[in-house]
């Protein structure tokens, strides 16, 4: 009996020959990037959970910023990537940017969800409530999350790849442009934000906490890059597969005439 590994390898070579290119989403670069990220994240966990001191006021709850703040920053970056990719598809019909926009939206939904969950978990012990309507960033993040879910639901509608790309790109563009307005409106509306204004610059954080947060930013950036590369390649391979299928489909279509 064939061992499963070689069966997998065989099917991989088959796909590779079919596509005329590598059928993997990984590469030597992403392998080392992934490994370094894992080690770094373990370091963040160790420093954040054990070494960094508890906050005078917030206690151990402060440790959640090592996840919350990088995730929030990542979510907005992903939205930016999706908005730029949407514009580039509409303007130049660039498939590369279309696939990038889709990858950005999927990772953005994940990070935005993470931001919301960690924010609420932190809010409970600190503010005494999971959800604080007066908090601009939390409310904006929720709207952003809903917009991105809408983007993905348009992506899931199916149909012609170019037509789905255009529909989704308009949603990405509209979402990206309206989020600042959402932020502004919520800001005026609440006008009494409870959010930590800027824990980073008020100088109250311990040096070790700051260092851990810095490391967490770097590791989050690496993790997001790793996910982006893989998600992008999945989308790219899907597009290649469609292009490859085209030649076969054309031959099959012409053969209808013979019947």
């Amino acid at each position: 009996m064939t061992p499963p590994e070689s069966e997998g390898a065989a099917s991989e070579t088959l796909i590779a020959s079919y596509l005329g290119g590598p059928a993997r989403t990984g590469s030597r670069f992403t392998f080392w990037l992934g490994l370094a990220t894992l080690i770094g994240l373990a370091g963040v966990a160790a420093l954040g959970l054990l070494a960094a001191p508890a906050d005078d006021v917030q206690g151990d709850a402060v440790r959640i910023i090592f996840v919350h703040v990088p995730a929030a920053l990542g979510a907005y970056t992903a939205l930016g990537v999706t908005a730029v990719g949407s514009v580039m598809w509409l303007w130049r019909r660039s498939v590369w940017w279309d696939v990038t926009a889709h990858a950005g939206a999927e990772i953005g939904v994940l990070l935005c969800g993470l931001t919301l969950v960690t924010g609420m978990l932190w809010g409970r012990p600190t503010w005494g409530t999971y959800w604080e309507w007066g908090d601009v960033r939390l409310v904006t993040a929720l709207i952003l999350f809903l917009v991105m879910v809408g983007y993905l639901s348009v992506r899931a509608l199916g149909g012609d790849a170019d037509s789905v790309a255009t529909r989704a790109a308009v949603v990405g563009l509209v979402g990206g442009i309206n989020i600042p307005i959402v932020n502004r409106s919520v800001n005026w509306w609440a006008n009494r934000t409870l959010h930590q204004q800027s824990s980073l610059t008020d100088g109250k954080l311990a040096d070790l906490t700051l260092f851990t947060l810095f490391l967490a930013f770097v590791m989050a950036a690496m993790a997001i890059l790793w996910m982006m590369v893989h998600r992008f390649r999945i989308g790219w391979l899907e597009r290649q597969l469609q292009a490859r299928d085209l030649d076969e489909a054309l031959a099959a279509r012409r053969a209808e005439a013979a019947r």
Partner: protein, 215 residues
């Protein structure tokens, strides 16, 4: 002068190659009948020539405009009768044609004449088109093309749903248009009466024109 010039045209609809490499050339004054079974790609071919679809492969010109870069210019100059009539059901025949004439910047004054030419009784002109019969709606849709006086006529099953008087009217309109220098492409699943009208017949199957079938 060439009105339609397609070279290896491929059109994908939802990933499916509805057109799988079509070479077609139509001169002004020609009446070309595209014959073929259901699903051969005839309607897609007409929509492509109308500038409504994007070429996935190959290239083509319609009325001297490139189908890649200049489809908007193509759309302004063609007349297309599809399976559906593209009429607003709540509006009357006259209203539909007025909207259409004003949108495509041709005289509204031709509207009554066009409806008369298609033999739509005056009492039906102000009735919402969704209360008309299928054949009557088809006449209104044809009148919309007459109003526009296009340089390229694209008629999908021009005789479908029409009685014998309607068919005669369509034939005379098509012949008059061709005589005036317009190009006409008809699509039909049967050679039938439309065959007598055509100056040339090509056969379509499997998203391509069959070789050697042109007369």
């Amino acid at each position: 002068m060439t009105a339609v010039d397609l070279r290896g045209a491929v059109v994908l609809l939802g990933g499916f190659p509805a057109l799988a490499g079509v070479d077609l050339s139509v001169e002004r004054g020609d009446i070309v009948l595209v014959r073929g079974p259901n699903g051969a790609g005839k309607s897609t071919l007409l929509h492509l020539c109308a500038g409504l679809l994007r070429l996935s492969k190959g290239n083509g010109d319609v009325l001297g405009c490139d189908l890649g870069a200049d489809r908007a210019a193509v759309r302004r100059r063609v007349g297309l009768l599809g399976h559906d009539t593209a009429l607003y059901g709540e509006l009357s025949a006259a209203e539909n044609l007025q909207v259409w004439a004003r949108a495509s910047r041709v005289g509204e004054t031709d509207v009554p004449g066009a409806l008369e030419r298609l033999g739509l009784p005056p009492r039906l002109r102000d009735v919402p088109t969704d209360r008309l019969s299928a054949g009557q709606r088809r006449r209104v849709a044809l009148a919309a093309i007459v109003v526009r006086r296009p340089e390229l006529w694209l008629l999908d099953e021009p005789h479908a749903g029409l009685d014998s008087s309607g068919r005669q009217i369509v034939d005379s309109i098509v012949e008059a248009a061709a005589a005036a220098g317009a190009a006409v492409v008809l699509a039909s699943h049967e050679s039938g009466p439309a065959g007598d009208l055509a100056t040339r017949t090509v056969t379509m199957a499997g998203g391509a024109l069959s070789e050697g079938m042109a007369q």
